[in-house]
């Protein structure tokens, strides 16, 4: 089996609205695929197609080489954004419940969540809850992980720890499909897929996606006036400390600033992933 998950030309409509439109996607064993897109881009519908919760209207959706079903669901570990834990049960009870649902027996709690064994899940801090949800999803040794915003709200150290677990599972041969709004998290993935209006508009490594994309970097003592001028002029402009970065053309920006009598050094610098993403999503004409 070459792919754990595969869609070819997958299409799903709701009435007249096409939520997913001709999407090709593959996840190989050991590979972490990041799925990016603004809200409403079709990420959640695509995941529901893959989990077998919705059938496609057109195209092919395969999990482990076959149509999604109850038997393929057993081989998937899924962590929704809402975590899917029972807040009123303890960590141990959640663990046992999931084990029973998947037909498993008395596995020991993993070391990192064992100290919280007797605590109610709802009383744990969010980072700990996410760690528990991830451990529970891994408990039946899934071949494919589907993770929706796995580190949202947990901070730099908590994210690093959760990604250790994701990488460890991938190292042992599992594939992972990760949706995220966080570009640091996206950079942890092996490959990325960017969706706009139900279609894939960009795909590749983070390096592929930022390649050839530049932004203008503006350094000036009069940064607050320069910011207001560019912002009013309709340039997408962001403040980094007292440096400005903008997706506009450096020559145009230079001209505008010098007309206003603002002395500034304007340079073209490589775009970061967030800037590349915003440029791709904001300009659907580039499709």
């Amino acid at each position: 089996m070459e792919y754990l998950a595969e869609t070819r030309g997958a299409l799903r409509r709701f009435g007249r609205f096409t939520a997913v439109s001709g999407v090709d996607l593959t996840v190989r064993p050991g590979e972490i695929l990041g799925l990016l897109g603004a809200n409403g881009a079709g990420k959640t519908t695509l995941i529901r197609l893959l989990l077998g919760l919705l059938p496609p209207n057109e195209g092919v959706v395969h999990l482990f080489g076959q149509a999604p079903s109850i038997s393929t669901r057993r081989r998937v570990g899924y962590v929704p954004q809402t975590l899917g834990l029972y807040a009123g049960l303890t960590v141990q009870e959640n663990w046992d419940f999931t084990a029973a649902a998947f037909g498993g027996t008395g596995l020991p709690l993993p070391g990192d969540i064992a100290p919280w064994r007797r605590q109610l899940v709802g009383r744990l801090p969010l980072g700990a809850q996410r760690q528990v949800a991830f451990a529970v999803a891994l408990s039946h040794r899934p071949e494919l992980l589907v993770l929706d915003e796995p580190t949202s709200g947990v901070g730099p150290l908590g994210s690093a720890r959760l990604w250790e677990g994701i990488r460890q599972a991938a190292g042992a041969g599992a594939g992972a499909l990760v949706t995220t709004h966080n570009m640091e998290e996206a950079e942890q993935c092996d490959r990325l897929l960017i969706m706009v209006d139900g279609k894939v508009v960009a795909a590749g490594t983070a390096g592929d996606i930022t390649a050839g994309r530049d932004v203008a970097e503006v350094r000036t003592a009069d940064w607050s006036r320069a910011f207001a001028l560019l912002d009013d002029g309709g340039f997408p402009v962001q403040l980094h400390g007292t440096t400005l970065r903008s997706g506009g053309q450096p020559a145009e920006i230079s001209a505008l600033l010098s007309q206003a009598g603002i002395a500034a050094a304007v340079a073209s610098v490589p775009a970061n992933l967030e800037e590349a993403f915003v440029a791709i999503v904001a300009r659907p004409a580039a499709r």
Binding site: A38, A160, L239
Partner: protein, 282 residues
């Protein structure tokens, strides 16, 4: 420092929610308070706007009418429309009708919420709700703007729009304090305060925090965690040697801001754990 916290401690029961934390917030600048859940970010901002009294320390803040504050969870009325929410905020701040009309018009345009002005707050997407809440907090042109995790869970396009609003406020002279869990948002601040377990794990400009990275950083491959002071970055491990002695086989790399933040948070966590252990022994 014009506004902010100086050596503030907040005690709850037997524990310190904040311990000796200093957060300067100056006009025309964005101070970012970064950390995980439970690090003390919200407590910090609540003290700054006067919702919580510190046990010790000094709070410098303008009078109430000079503060704009958006808490992490709400900041708008779900059963009022966008327009009604803005009207309400204007009434609460006793804005003159003419000032209000002009300011609300500008903010509706900046946020792109104009076409949605008749929609109920509760029916907006998460990103639009955050933009509306920030717009409401900016209506009265506050001297100090305080935003608690305005971008958590928000998609990158809405995040860019929110940061444009935040940047525009700073460019207009407002002092801004923002909390976040995202390192790349801290990287764009004029000043960063990293909190871990209620304590300051690092503070300064992003460049100062990076320059202050102690010891050396290496890269190692492998399935198992190579050392306690290590974390995953993509496929490989980052191994941090505060004393400069990298383990055998580690390739030295130049740390970036994200490495510096993770290392400082890790050091903060370790010192808290060892303090706890020695406390238990004693």
């Amino acid at each position: 420092m014009r506004w902010g916290l100086r050596k503030v401690t907040v005690t709850r029961g037997h524990t310190n929610a904040l311990a000796d934390v200093t957060v300067p917030v100056d006009p025309s600048g964005v101070t970012v308070v970064v950390g995980g859940d439970g690090a003390g970010k919200s407590t910090c901002l609540q003290v700054l706007v006067g919702l919580l009294q510190p046990t010790k320390g000094t709070v410098l803040c303008p009078p109430k009418e000079g503060i704009g504050y958006v808490p992490a969870t709400a900041g708008l009325y779900a059963d009022l429309t966008v327009q009604e929410n803005l009207d309400f905020a204007a009434t609460a701040y006793r804005l003159a009708a003419r000032d209000y009309r002009q300011r609300a018009g500008e903010l509706l345009e900046q946020t792109g919420l104009g076409p949605a002005r008749r929609r109920l707050g509760g029916q907006l997407s998460g990103g639009m709700q955050r933009k509306l809440a920030v717009a409401m907090s900016l209506l009265h042109a506050p001297a100090l703007l305080v935003l608690d995790e305005p971008t958590t869970g928000v998609d990158p396009v809405s995040r860019a729009e929110l940061w444009r609003l935040i940047s525009a406020a700073a460019a207009g002279g407002t002092a801004v304090a923002v909390s976040t869990t995202y390192v790349n948002e801290a990287a764009r601040a004029a000043l960063v305060v990293l909190l871990e377990g209620g304590k300051t794990a690092a503070s300064g400009t992003p460049a100062q925090i990076l320059d202050g990275f102690p010891g050396r950083l290496g890269v190692l491959d492998g399935a198992e965690r190579p050392a306690p002071l290590s974390w995953r970055r993509g496929v490989a491990w980052r191994v941090w040697a505060p004393d400069g002695a990298l383990p055998a086989g580690a390739r030295p790399v130049t740390p970036d801001f994200e490495d510096a933040v993770v290392a400082a948070a890790l050091a903060g966590q370790q010192s808290a754990q060892s303090a706890q252990r020695s406390g238990q022994k004693g």
